[in-house]
């Protein structure tokens, strides 16, 4: 047996190439729809073409005659199959209204795309042909599409609830009663702004795909799904189907992106499982792109009203926010919680007194349900405060960077207890902002702008900026309890050193593009003094990784990665007792460096971890009471959120004749504390920035007044490609988090949070000489052109 010699490692912080990439790039990686499952029946879902209608009758007889069609089910047929409606895990208030939501609609459809019937066929073509052969008689009802209309309750969607309002969630923090109102009365400067966060379609490159495979006997079932949340899905599907949880195994094979859209329990997952059990055969389904647009959750969808009060120096003295949140037709897994995740961030990175008045009212509409989408509540909040501070700077006629400087929470104030009681772990906003300004060459750009933006010019330069705080790795669990979230915020890890000194890391995180296999191997390699390639990372299969809370909300590293480091520590502790026993010394006399235990002061008395691993396996010579094998498990509940931050800046040129916006420069300075792998950090920032630019310039789920989605293909829903976005300059500052041993914070959502307001602020800056003070998203050429026309009062 060969035992690899330990290398001294210095792995953390290196730009190790992602081990995930070769199989992904060569097509060897297997996604759910690539799995070869003999005998599988194909599910197809008939979807409502009406946003709001009663189902009068469904005739499936013609569909059943198509060769290959095995069965067709309606919502009524399956009504007794479900032990409970589909789950919503975040009842944000005790009186929250939550309409019963079943995998197939029973007598009424509530959005275009709502499932009406399920076809099972021996092949995909027959299942698709059968959809055309099902005859449904609908009685169309007026659709509720507009948020303010919904709020008026003129037309109530879920009659049994008696209202379209799902909940109102207030957060009023006042040093003394009435101090917010007082601050507004006394304010030297005030701004009152309204912003619309358009609905976005997450559009993961891999659509959703599912295969439910019943085991031959015993009643167990394996669910393969393109999901971000195998662990949560296991619990939730068991509860919804009323089957014992231990009989459900969930596997997420390679998953091609999620951005929150695969953080859910979907009708099709439940249909595949229920019908696989009913037919005792595997049932599989893959989503079409237009189904992905209509029947997978959408993101954003808020109307925001924000008011700032400020004193003569521009110091913010109070913040007031009113939001209407668009829930869509039903509450999905965490739908109601999304606006609440932003509720704490409407003061952004600024030092404000306890004078904060936030309230969110969320309403149902006859549109696709919304839920968490990259950033979930935090991009919306950041957009509002970072746009409002620009408005305040315009009001005061001072430079907005100068105004930010007057309000930033200062470096020496950290850890900083905010108005909300939350503690911001660490930060240095000014340094990040100054670095961004330097990389932008702000002085040079302003000089060029002066030269270029002269009366009559048709190409106008603008600079935009955003300083953000991200709130991620939501924990500890008791804080989540105070927000009425139904699950915890911990993460589990197991680290096992095999007899040959190869290492298995088992994580409860569930990567779908983030590179966890690479990063987690790096953490274990650094800790244990082994080579990263000797560390295998196992995940996303509940039979292997039994415990976990999955991947979303930039939680994987600050919670799951830290859990791995802690499990490594436990392994090292155990190994140390074995080393001490075998070297005949006291454990406290040992040091562990580069994968080797040695007696302090006598380096010749040493044992490599490899020898201890093998010794723990043979168990021939272990200390009294020491169990064989080298393995440790940790469930880690962090003491606090992690608070990444940074400043983004960009320079745009606006063509006033056409309204076209070109981003000339984009600078992202992000601080996520210590970086495990800078290459992966930069990749996350790049992807996030592009998604933020997409919200600013390209993407919108457009509905007509009847609730029809007008952007259901990639020809209309404008996901930008590489050639449509600018080169991105990434840089960082490093302010380690004091709350975890790795000093890390999450980075998955930061780019998205920073980018949209940065771009919009730049466009407004470019057009400010024309009198433009606001810009709707997406700032399409037509929108920009019309805004310019309006500012000019119709004059060309």
């Amino acid at each position: 047996m060969t035992i690899t010699e330990n290398k001294t490692t210095n792995v953390i912080g290196t730009r190790l190439l992602r081990r995930e990439d070769p199989p992904l790039l060569t097509g060897e990686a297997k996604f759910t729809n690539d799995l070869n499952i003999p005998g599988a029946l194909h599910l197809a879902v008939l979807r409502s073409p009406f946003a709001h209608a009663k189902i009068k009758s469904i005739n499936v007889s013609a569909a059943l005659k198509i060769a290959g069609v095995v069965a067709v089910y309606t919502g009524k047929d399956l009504q007794t199959t479900w032990a409970s409606p589909m789950p919503c895990a975040w009842p944000v208030t005790t009186d929250m209204k939550n309409p019963a939501h079943y995998p197939l609609a029973i007598d009424k459809v509530n959005y275009v795309g709502d499932g009406v019937a399920a076809v099972l066929a021996t092949n995909e073509t027959a299942s698709r042909d059968a959809l055309d052969a099902i005859d449904v008689e609908y009685e169309a009802l007026q659709a509720v599409v507009d948020l303010e209309d919904a709020l008026s309750d003129k037309n109530i969607i879920h009659k049994d609830l008696g209202t379209n309002k799902s909940y109102t969630w207030p957060l009023l923090v006042e040093e003394t009663p009435g101090c917010v109102e007082e601050a507004f009365k006394k304010a030297k400067y005030k701004v009152k702004e309204r912003y619309v966060q358009q609905r976005l379609i997450p559009m993961a490159m891999e659509p959703r795909a599912i295969a439910a495979v019943p085991q031959p006997f015993g009643g167990d079932i394996t669910l393969y799904s393109a999901t971000q949340i195998p662990h949560i899905l296991k619990v939730m599907t068991a509860l919804t189907l009323g089957i014992p949880e231990h009989q459900v195994r969930v596997v997420a094979p390679s998953v091609g992106g999620g951005f929150g859209s695969k953080l859910n329990v979907y009708a099709e997952e439940l249909l595949c499982m229920a019908l696989a059990r009913k037919h005792n055969a595997p049932v599989r389904w893959v989503e079409e792109r237009s189904e992905n647009a209509q029947a997978t959750i959408q993101g954003r969808g808020q109307i925001q009203h924000i008011e700032l009060a400020a004193d003569e120096k521009g110091k913010i003295t109070a913040v007031r926010v009113r939001i209407i949140g668009d829930m869509g037709a039903y509450l999905q897994l965490v739908t109601p919680g999304v606006p609440i995740l932003g509720a704490f961030l409407y003061a952004g990175v600024y030092d404000i007194p306890k004078a904060y008045d936030f309230s969110c009212t969320s309403v149902f509409t006859n549109l696709t349900p919304t839920d968490a989408y990259r950033g979930a509540g935090r991009p919306e909040a950041t957009y509002a405060i970072e746009s409002a501070i620009e408005a305040l700077a315009r009001e005061m006629k001072i430079d907005s960077f100068e105004l930010r400087k007057r309000n930033y929470i200062k470096k020496e104030q950290f850890p900083y207890t905010a108005f909300s009681g939350l503690v911001y772990d660490s930060g240095d906003h000014l340094s990040a902002a100054e670095k961004a300004a330097k990389l932008t060459d702000i002085a040079g750009v302003r000089a060029q702008q002066k030269k270029q933006n002269v009366p009559g010019a048709t190409k106008l330069l603008g600079v935009g900026m955003t300083s953000y705080f991200e709130m991620c790795g939501l924990a500890p669990s008791r804080v989540l309890a105070s927000l009425n979230y139904s699950a915890g915020g911990w993460e589990a890890a197991t680290v096992r050193v095999l007899p040959t000194n190869k290492v298995q890391v088992i994580t409860g995180t569930s990567p779908h593009g983030q590179g966890h296999e690479t990063s987690w191997a790096m953490i274990a390699a650094e800790k244990l003094g082994v080579a990263p390639e000797d560390v295998d990372v196992l995940h996303s299969d509940t039979a292997i990784s039994a415990l976990g809370l999955d991947t979303y909300g930039s939680r994987s590293l600050p919670v799951g990665g830290v859990a791995i480091a802690m499990a490594c520590d436990k392994v090292i502790e155990k190994a140390k007792t074995i080393a001490a026993h075998q070297l005949e010394c006291a454990a406290e006399d040992l040091q562990f460096v580069g994968g080797t235990f040695s007696v302090k002061g006598s380096p010749d008395r040493a044992l490599p971890l490899a020898a201890i691993a093998f010794g723990a396996f043979t168990a021939h010579n272990l200390p009294e009471g020491c169990e064989p094998n080298l393995e440790a498990q940790v469930s880690y509940d962090p003491p606090n959120f992690s608070w990444p931050f940074g400043t983004h800046m960009c320079v745009v040129e606006v063509d006033t004749e056409t309204g076209a916006v070109e981003i000339l420069k984009y600078i992202a300075v992000d601080d996520c504390g210590n970086q495990i792998n800078p290459l992966i950090v930069e990749g996350q920032v790049h992807g996030g920035v592009v998604q933020g630019i997409a919200q600013a310039l390209f993407e919108e789920a457009v509905y007509d007044s009847d609730g029809n989605l007008k952007t259901s293909t990639l020809a209309e829903y404008l996901v930008p490609a590489a050639c449509d976005v600018p080169p991105i300059t990434t840089a960082h500052t490093t302010t380690p988090s004091p709350t975890n041993q790795l000093g890390v914070k999450g980075i998955g959502e930061a780019g998205t949070i920073g980018a949209a307001p940065t771009v919009i602020n730049a466009i407004i800056d470019a057009l400010s000489s024309l009198g433009v003070k606001s810009m709707a998203m997406p700032a399409s050429p037509q929108t920009v052109w019309k805004t310019i026309q309006a500012a000019r009062g119709g004059k060309k």
């Binding site: 995909e124 237009s290 056409t658 310039l697 457009v702 293909t713 020809a715 050639c723 050429p781």
Partner: protein, 274 residues
């Protein structure tokens, strides 16, 4: 993304393709590069009962110098139009426009004949060949006939092609050193133009055609007419939409499209005058 059932025949010559389409009538569709037809079929917006695959018809993929004009076989791929030395020399506007069709994958599959026969007003090559005064050669059961581009486009996705006819050649007059410009205005590089302009200019003579400004590609004859009478570029460009009848869609209202057309025609003429 699964089309309705259809039958499939492969033709090895233009004559065979025409005989097949005669046999199956209006239920049949020619399949060339497939980049317009197949997406429509996958969305079940088109459900032809018979596909006649002309993708392997020999001798319809060529670019030849025919003296006064360049002859381009209907099955010539966009990529070949884009990179042709003959076209670079004699009809650079066309090869430049071909480089703006879709993305690289589309340009390796899609054909110039397919694009023109599909008669999509939002496509780049119908308008470009229209601006250049091209002639299309079509073949039917009774032999070949020539149709001027200006008479070919009849309505949205409708052309002068009879059901049993096939476009076989595009004849583009040599540009003889005329200045030219192609302006494609869109939100993403791979998209169809919101508005596009193909233009050439030689002294007071000009050809200007518009992409996506009506139910067919539009020949902006008022612009050319004004220039011929000595109008300034700006004044001529203001007439850009005289022959157009643009739709409103998610990207552009009728009013905005007309405005864009004037701006882009002006820029195209300025560019072509350099």
């Amino acid at each position: 993304m699964i089309p309705a059932a259809f039958d499939y025949k492969r033709a090895s010559s233009a004559a065979e393709a025409i005989s097949l389409v005669g046999q199956y009538g209006s239920d049949a569709k020619f399949l060339a590069g497939g980049h317009s037809l197949l997406p429509l079929m996958k969305l079940r917006l088109a459900q032809p009962a018979m596909l006649i695959d002309i993708g392997r018809v020999k001798d319809l993929s060529y670019i030849k110098d025919a003296g006064k004009h360049i002859a381009i076989g209907a099955l010539t791929r966009h990529m070949d139009v884009e990179t042709s030395k003959v076209l670079h020399e004699h009809a650079p506007l066309l090869s430049h426009a071909a480089a703006h069709v879709g993305d690289s994958q589309v340009r390796h599959r899609g054909t110039i004949g397919g694009s023109i026969a599909h008669a999509d007003p939002a496509s780049d090559l119908p308008a470009t060949t229209l601006a250049l005064g091209a002639t299309y050669v079509v073949q039917g059961p009774k032999g070949q006939r020539e149709i001027a581009a200006a008479k070919f486009f009849k309505g949205f996705l409708e052309s002068d092609l009879a059901a049993d006819e096939m476009l076989v050649e595009i004849r583009v007059p040599k540009m003889q050193g005329a200045g030219w410009s192609f302006q494609k205005f869109n939100r993403r590089a791979q998209d169809w133009a919101i508005v596009g302009v193909a233009a050439w200019r030689r002294k007071n003579e000009a050809g200007v055609a518009l992409v996506n400004m009506g139910s067919t590609p539009i020949l902006a004859t008022s612009v050319a007419g004004a220039l011929a009478k000595g109008a300034s570029v700006g004044d001529a460009a203001a007439l850009a939409s005289n022959e157009a009848d643009p739709q409103s869609d998610l990207n552009a209202s009728t009013e905005y499209r007309k405005h864009l057309a004037s701006v882009l025609v002006r820029r195209a003429l300025e560019d072509a005058s350099k």
